[in-house]
């Protein structure tokens, strides 16, 4: 049995829009439009998508916050809304823009309160807290009221708060939003560590692709409430035609751009002394060997495909890309 199951999951909202000075019209907006997904135990799943794509709404349906309009969802075999309180004992939730902590109390007090809320044995609680203190460097601000913490410190507190009851599934909605580079690294490192242990299933939404590259082997792209891609990052590149590039610096320009099988020239720069090849079927070695027969190489570098660019293209024209071979 999969830890998370979604079948035809839908969420519609009715909104009232002004249709005149007094008249208001009801309109139905579909935030999540039939999502089918399975997530297995120990998987780390990353969700990306433009604002309003339905990522957060999906997460809220899986955690029992929102009632689906249609379809079926199961988390740990439970119905998120009907079994909300039972499910809450088995999942952890971090909403980047929400807080689970008590604003006016020291961070330490929030942790102690959550021990009571989640009925965790003192021993287990202490062991998990000790681990988080160590991995997330909490000691410096454990006695500071939460309202005085920096965003990065607070987020480290939120992560700890979500894990103290040893959840089977951890949902993270934009856990790195607004964080500085150092805090982002700390959060990612911690989550990577958690994923390596292998018994926690992790589902995160983000706008920062570095989060996904660092953490998730599986990537789901959601747009207009639908899953438009489900697979690895490499598959995303393959599908949408983004390729690795070889940049060759030459001693002197060639009279005309060379023709290498399986590696068409993408750009010619620096008066012909820098050539950029796209690796379609050829390997790096084949390109280098082909060039070496023609001219003297000064330098070779390989440029990994830019996932941001792929995703930007995906957001702009998802329908067209989906139809692409």
């Amino acid at each position: 049995m999969s830890v998370i199951e979604m079948d035809g999951l839908r969420k519609e909202f009715t909104v009232r829009v002004k249709a005149g000075p007094l008249r208001r019209e009801k309109r139905t907006v579909t935030a999540v439009d039939g999502v089918d997904l399975r997530v297995e135990r120990g998987e780390m799943l990353g969700c990306i998508g433009p604002n309003g794509a339905g990522k957060s709404t999906t997460l809220k349906m899986l955690t029992g916050v929102l009632t689906p309009s249609a379809g079926r969802a199961r988390v740990c075999g439970l119905r998120p809304v009907a079994d909300r309180t039972r499910l809450a004992l088995r999942i952890g939730v971090v909403f980047g823009q929400r807080s689970q902590l008590w604003w006016d109390l020291p961070l330490r007090d929030s942790f102690d309160l959550l021990r009571h809320v989640y009925r965790v044995r003192a021993g287990e609680h202490a062991a998990r807290l000790a681990r988080c203190r160590d991995l997330l460097d909490l000691d410096a601000f454990l006695d500071t009221p939460v309202r005085q913490l920096s965003l990065g410190q607070r987020m480290r507190g939120e992560l700890t708060a979500a894990l103290l009851h040893g959840p089977e599934v951890l949902f993270l909605d934009e856990p790195t939003i607004g964080l500085d580079v150092v805090s982002k690294q700390a959060v990612r490192g911690f989550l990577a560590e958690l994923g390596r242990a292998g018994d926690t299933t992790l589902v995160l939404t983000t706008h920062d692709l570095a989060d996904i590259e660092r953490l998730c082997r599986r990537l789901v792209v959601i747009d207009h409430g639908r899953v438009v891609h489900d697979g690895s990052i490499a598959e995303l590149h393959r599908r949408y035609g983004s390729r690795r590039m070889v940049v060759a610096e030459l001693d002197a320009a060639l009279p005309e751009p060379p023709v290498l099988p399986g590696a068409p020239v993408q750009r010619v720069e620096a008066d012909g002394r820098r050539l950029v090849f796209a690796l379609e079927r050829a390997s790096v070695a084949e390109v280098v060997a082909g060039l070496a027969g023609l001219t003297t190489l000064r330098d070779i570098s390989i440029v990994e495909p830019d996932i941001e660019e792929v995703v930007a293209r995906l957001y702009r024209a998802p329908a067209a890309l989906m139809d692409a071979p």
Partner: protein, 287 residues
């Protein structure tokens, strides 16, 4: 940090956590303690609020006294009799306002994300919200309301029977439960219509004012709506009649006064239902 090992661990995952079980109660008590400590962080303003909060309730009573300065009877009731009505109303309302009143801040809980946070915890959403934002400074009002009621009961020259003693004990909590239910029901309207605050106030505070006087002073459809359409007559008017041993000038039989606890239970059940349905309609906010 105390109570080591006594709480059931996470291992016990099959059981549904409810309001009733011991670990659940301990969790709620912890939330209450946290709220007390949070408010203690602002001690001076807490004391000021505690004193200032008596003001509003005193005003209700003073209004009644002023009215009786110009008349000997109000709707056929003397000052001493009317005070029993006021006492039941103030005591019930102030207690409900202390325990449940802050649920009128539901739109704010939604906006700040507290409601989302509460929904992902293994406890009831309503009790969590009430405990996490319990306005302890309103304690002074409830104490004052109780004092007015006790004074009224002593000075009203009641012919005490065991039944009346039981009613005197049951009526104030019943009034509190009734007002609390009204608070919850009106707050759930904001699940559908965010700007419903004014309407909610009209019903809750309107209800408090309505129950501060014998309902004989009101007339027509207004009295019918508030007294029996919404049930406010059973908060203070009918129990007061039963305690004073007076027949209802409006003709309802004498058991009406004893129905107060039953009416409160019905109101609470309706409020619980409204809340459950409301939470299912909850839309959350962006991101």
């Amino acid at each position: 940090m105390a109570e080591r090992g006594s709480a059931p661990g996470v291992a016990e995952r099959g059981s549904a956590p409810g309001v009733a079980d011991l670990a659940g109660l301990r969790a709620y008590r912890a939330l209450l303690g946290a709220q007390a400590r949070s408010q203690a962080a602002y001690r001076t303003s807490f004391v000021v609020d505690l004193v200032g909060n008596v003001g509003a309730t005193v005003f209700d009573v003073v209004t009644v006294l002023v009215i009786f300065g110009v008349t000997r009877e109000l709707g056929g009731f003397t000052l001493r009799e009317t005070l029993v009505v006021v006492g039941l109303s103030s005591c019930g309302f102030a207690t409900a306002d202390l325990l449940v009143g802050n649920i009128e801040r539901l739109p704010r809980y939604v906006r700040t994300g507290l409601f989302d946070a509460v929904l992902v915890r293994p406890l009831g959403a309503l009790p969590q919200l009430l405990l996490m934002d319990l306005p302890l400074r309103k304690l002074s009002r409830a104490v004052f309301g109780l004092a007015v009621l006790l004074f009224a009961l002593v000075s009203a020259d009641i012919d005490w029977t065991p039944g009346r003693v039981a009613l005197a004990v049951a009526a104030p909590p019943a009034a509190a439960v009734f007002f609390g239910s009204v608070f919850v029901m009106t707050a759930t309207v904001s699940f559908y219509w965010v700007d419903s605050g004014e309407l909610a106030n009209a019903v809750t505070y309107g209800g408090r004012d309505f129950t501060s006087y014998p309902i004989t002073v009101y007339g027509g459809w207004f009295r019918a709506l508030f007294a029996y359409g919404m049930g406010f007559a059973f908060v203070s008017y009918h129990p007061a009649l039963a305690l004073l041993g007076r027949a209802d000038p409006l003709g309802l039989p004498s058991w009406a006064g004893w129905a107060a606890p039953g009416v409160a239970v019905v109101a609470a059940a309706l409020a619980a239902l409204a809340w459950r349905v409301g939470v299912r309609h909850y839309r959350s906010t962006g991101s």
